[in-house]
């Protein structure tokens, strides 16, 4: 780890001043410290923001607003969130380990960096870590990599489960800087790698994530997350499905579906949603809709299995979520 100056921000103004001066924000630290130790991240100033007041979970008829510094454990265990937004609780509980969930924050969760082995290995090329140095994963060990949203520059998957749930539920990211506050739809917050994989999100220098807002919807109560991985717990997804359905009078009024573990960003599935909307639930419908889950996929040498896997993951989760309403 390289040396750095450390400051603990006394308030938001101090944090934004230090951040706009090039300081790197730290909260849970579970991604940043790991990557600093690997010298993938080399901040010269680290700004501890854990003293800032972004720790509330506010829930009412319009939606839920989660402070960026809420720990994963606390959002997952929130009784009203579990009842009204089970997709969010489930995505969190299927993430990481109890210890890590006690540390990691909601803001930091969506800022996680790729788990690609080449990204984490400073002796390897990586366009995301060192633009122009190449992507060894494209012709290398790419079993865990993306089949959707990739480019010739980068094929790393996005690691967050929560972000997949948030993309499905049309969350807004609340950002604050010296210029004021703005809200960005979370799907626009994440950037596909394209020609600039080092630019991972729509976050300006020094800007802070202060909250994530999830709007209410008739579909949020009937929702959930399915995660498929190499071991049953404490592992990243090979494929995952976030599903929320509004079913009334035997018809699907609204569907929200997204996939994780298969794309460079949390991957919304509008073609699957379209195939469900207005239809009568049935086992045939789940298979027919989920057949679109890998539309546009470009598998690599070792991950073609993900094409079928993500379709089956989405189909199974559609059936699970619709259970009792069919």
């Amino acid at each position: 780890m390289f040396p750095f100056r450390f400051t603990k921000a006394a308030d938001e103004r101090a944090a934004l001043a230090a951040g706009s001066d090039g300081g790197r924000y730290i909260a849970g630290g579970t991604t940043l410290i790991d990557l600093m130790r690997e010298t993938v991240e080399r901040p010269s100033v680290v700004v501890d923001i854990t003293g800032l007041p972004y720790t509330n979970i506010d829930i009412d008829a319009t939606g839920v607003r989660v402070g960026a510094l809420v720990r994963m454990t606390d959002l997952a265990a929130h009784p009203q969130v579990s009842a009204q937004y089970p997709l969010i609780s489930q995505a969190l509980r299927l993430s990481a380990s109890p210890q890590l969930r006690n540390m990691a924050t909601i803001g930091g969760n969506i800022m996680q960096r790729p788990r690609c082995l080449y990204f984490r290995d400073v002796s390897a090329g990586c366009n995301r870590r060192n633009p122009g140095s190449g992507c060894p994963a494209i012709d290398g060990d790419n079993r865990a990599h993306a089949i959707l949203g990739a480019s010739q520059r980068c094929v790393a998957t996005h690691p967050s489960d929560l972000a997949v749930a948030l993309v499905a539920l049309d969350a807004l990211v609340h950002l604050r800087s010296g210029q004021g506050e703005r809200k960005v739809p979370i799907a626009a917050f994440f950037r596909q790698p394209g020609d600039t994989p080092d630019q991972e999100h729509d976050l300006r220098p020094g800007e802070l994530i202060v909250a994530v807002e999830v709007p209410a919807g008739a579909y949020t109560r009937r929702s959930g997350y399915l995660k498929v991985r190499d071991r049953q717990s404490y592992e990243f997804a090979l494929a995952s499905a976030a599903v929320a359905l509004d079913i009334g009078n035997g018809v699907i009024n609204a569907a929200r579906v997204a996939a994780g573990g298969v794309a460079t960003v949390p991957w919304r599935l509008p073609a699957v949603e379209q195939a469900l909307t207005g239809k009568t639930p049935s086992p045939q419908l789940w298979a027919a809709a989920a057949a679109h889950a890998a539309d546009g996929a470009t598998p690599l040498s070792d991950n073609a299995f993900k094409v079928e896997l993500v379709k089956r993951t989405v189909a199974r989760q559609l059936a699970t979520i619709a259970e009792g309403a069919v």
Binding site: F2, F4, F6, K8, I26, I33, T50, P98, L100, M103
Partner: protein
């Protein structure tokens, strides 16, 4: 037990001296190129006050020091183990303000005023913590390297009330890896201790 401890302490010191020397060589190599950068030495160190196992400590630490390294290298509380040093194994689990965390993935300087419980703080004098006793009763370890992390994590798991079934314990203990594969008895030990609580 007391007769053996002198020998084992001697062995530990030798091994630790070797490991320390290796780390210093690596540190010099890494820091060398940075001497040209303007990072004033006084800014690279911070003094922190923490309460560990009920005892107050004030330590000046390099900003880079993990909570784990502070415990082991500065305060000589070596019961907390360094396994992977990247948050993948749970050997370094401690209770931070009552909640179980991976001490390798947090900086000591972030914990001014914190209350920390390590494996050394679980027993009351010579009376073992019920979960420590349960690990002995159930033979819940083989090599023992992961054991202190398993026990501290298990204390957290029981406090969180995630002990309703063996399956629930397995899920909520998934952050602690045991390469000897003592999981069956670890789960039984946690069940035993949870039932007694």
């Amino acid at each position: 037990m007391n007769h053996g401890s002198d020998d084992s302490t001697g062995f530990r010191l030798n091994r630790r001296t070797f490991v320390g020397a290796t780390a210093v060589v690596g540190g010099v190599a890494a820091v060398g190129p940075l001497l040209s950068c303007s990072t004033p030495a006084e800014d690279a160190e911070t003094s922190i006050a923490v309460t560990i196992n009920g005892q107050k400590h004030t330590v000046a630490v390099d900003n880079r020091t993990s909570l784990l390294d502070m415990l082991r290298e500065r305060l000589h509380l070596t019961g907390t183990k360094k396994g992977c040093n990247q948050g993948a194994c749970g050997a370094c689990t401690v209770l931070l303000n009552g909640r179980r965390v991976n001490s390798c993935l947090t900086l000591a300087v972030m914990h001014q005023g914190a209350e920390i419980t390590t494996i050394e703080g679980l027993a009351s004098g010579d009376a073992l913590h019920p979960l420590q006793q349960a690990f002995i009763d159930q033979d819940a370890f083989q090599c023992g390297y992961c054991t202190s992390g398993q026990i501290v994590s298990g204390v957290g798991c029981i406090a969180e009330k995630h002990t309703g079934s063996a399956a629930e314990i397995r899920e909520w203990m998934s952050g602690n890896i045991c390469r000897c594969g003592a999981y069956t008895n670890i789960v039984t030990a946690i069940e035993q201790s949870a039932q007694a609580t």
